[in-house]
Amino acid sequence: MTDHLRCEGITVKFGGVVACDNISLNVETGKIVGLIGPNGAGKTTLFNVLTRFQPYVAGSVFHNGNNVDELRPHDMVHRGLARTFQNINLFREQTTLRNIMTGGHSLIGNPIKAMCWTPDARKREREIEERAIEIAEILNLSGELENEVGNLPYGYQKRVELGRALASKPSLLLLDEPVAGCNDDETAELQEIIHTVNKKMGVSVLLVEHDMKMVMKVCDYLFVINFGSNLAEGTPEDIRQNPEVIKAYLGEEEHT
């Protein structure tokens, strides 16, 4: 199996605080990989490093074996990496359809041709719209296509954001706490969707999540970090039995 995304020795400092200290991880092609750790462990920071939103002082990120240290966030999307945010980040005053279509930005081709409505650009535009509608169908959002996203409930917005990420035809999806704040039904629905995306669309997934039940069920492989460093890695079964992980993270749950 080849590595889709790999990082080595990532170190990030915020002033004197070391948020990530020499972290390495890799996502195998076609797998769902989870990144877990207690609050403040540096999960989101590492996530931002992988999507190039966050600069780092040491280490390297490789995508399909190519070094992507010098790339910017939008370059990553063009290379097939799409992400969502922990705090929903959407175009709130635009409709669901437009939000998902904006996610397909990497497919518009030459912007000059796009704004001059060349036949080729119009064809791309129709394809982006068709795709957005299909994605909405997968995400159970067909009814809300013409609704402003700001009007939608939280669980819907989470799905719209996922839709926006999927619209760029990604080969790797990075989800930052996809079910945070969702109720049981919404969690089950999103879990189902993540499975569909991974199995039917062949998209690798890296997700950060606090909902242990969901993580254990959905992920093929897990990385645990604590205090900005690698703590453990392995299959969900291994992680569940790893004493260090239990001590650092799952310990509380053992007592309840």
Partner: protein, 362 residues
């Protein structure tokens, strides 16, 4: 068990069919809305084109109408920046001047056709705009506004002090030719209208393309735009350059309508303020906005003529009233009932399951 499964898949198939039907109905509705909009625009432009046929439309009225159109074009340029990309420029008078002088000097020294002059003005403004964008876009918010203001002053200083531009004496132009025909008042008016139609068409196409979507994405949520793959610097530079180019067209037309360019007119910072004001008063999200705003900015001083210099104060008063009671612009105020009605229809037909609040009045 198997019967049960079949039933389930049947229900699912029915649901899918129903969804598809709804989606195609929504699509048709949207197409109809667009058709109505286009029809309204065609009517408006048709009226504008046949207006000179009325014998009462001549002289002052005609040149004033041309001026209104020029301001509308400039305001459309600013709208691309302010309304769709969320950047503020208070220095677009500088691009007006660049367009005006480019076309004027070319016509004077090389005797080129007006069409060539306008295209040259467009390219010159657009190129300079792209170059400047790389500087301005490193500044954020108010600092960018001040930067653009500095640019307008800079252009004014150049025009005043470099002999080639003949400073405050200005450059008087000769006859104007369009496609080989010499044109006068009526001709100018028609050329302006044609330019307006082309610019409006272009802005409409821009807004309804992936490029326009990227602009609006940057305006609404920068991080989400970047996560969607929008190259921030590239698309903002493009927006700035397009905006400058459109304003340049307005500048070229302005030079030829009055047949005269001088630093006294084009170095004046009030030009920049007026264009921005047209966009703020008219509204910067709907294409109708600049039309309302352009009319307002040009005609307003004449309605308050007897107040002499106090007409400036009246502009301020109107601006404050608009910002208080219609912060999204006068056009927005007119269009809102229509927009809301359409939105509700689309939502209902689309089968929205979510109870929605009416949008806030802001």
């Amino acid at each position: 068990m198997s019967i049960n499964n079949n039933q389930n898949t049947d229900i699912q198939a029915n649901q899918n069919e129903e969804t598809r039907a709804r989606i195609s109905t929504v699509k048709n509705l949207k197409r109809r809305f667009v058709r109505n909009d286009v029809l309204a625009m065609v009517l408006l432009f048709g009226l504008m084109l046949i207006a000179p046929l009325f014998p009462s439309v001549k002289g002052w009225m005609l040149s004033q109408a041309s001026l209104v159109i020029i301001y509308i074009i400039a305001a459309l340029g600013v709208m691309v920046l302010v309304g769709f990309t969320g950047l503020v420029s208070v220095g677009h008078g500088g691009f007006l001047a660049i367009g005006a002088y480019t076309s004027a000097l070319l016509t004077l020294h090389l005797g080129v056709d007006l069409v060539v002059g306008i295209i040259a003005a467009l390219l010159m403004s657009g190129l300079i705009g792209a170059g400047l964008a790389l500087i301005f876009l490193r500044l954020s918010g108010a600092f960018m506004a001040i930067g653009t203001l500095g640019f307008a002053f800079f252009v004014g200083t150049i025009l005043n002090n470099i002999p080639f531009f003949q400073g405050r004496d200005g450059i008087l132009l000769d006859a104007n030719f369009v496609l080989g025909f010499e044109i006068y008042d009526h001709g100018f008016y028609l050329v302006s209208v044609v330019c307006l139609i082309l610019v409006t068409l272009f802005v409409y196409m821009l807004v309804n393309s992936g490029t326009g979507r990227a602009f609006m994405a940057l305006r609404d949520a920068e991080k989400a735009a970047m996560a969607s793959g929008v190259n921030r610097l590239k698309f903002r530079t493009l927006a700035f350059s397009i905006s400058a180019a459109i304003t340049g067209i307005a500048g070229a037309l302005n030079a030829h309508v009055v047949n005269y360019v001088s630093a006294e007119v084009f170095a004046d910072i009030w030009y920049s303020v007026d264009i921005l004001m047209a966009v703020v008063v008219g509204g910067s999200v709907a294409i109708l906005g600049p039309f309302v705003g352009g009319f307002f900015v040009v005609m307003m001083p004449f309605y308050f003529e007897q107040l002499a210099d106090f007409s400036f104060i009246m502009k301020g008063v109107v601006l404050i009233l608009v910002l208080r009671f219609a912060p999204a612009g006068v056009a927005e105020l007119i269009l809102r009932p229509l927009k809301n009605a359409r939105r509700t229809i689309l939502r209902n037909v689309g089968g929205s399951m979510v109870e929605t609040k009416e949008p806030k009045d802001d």
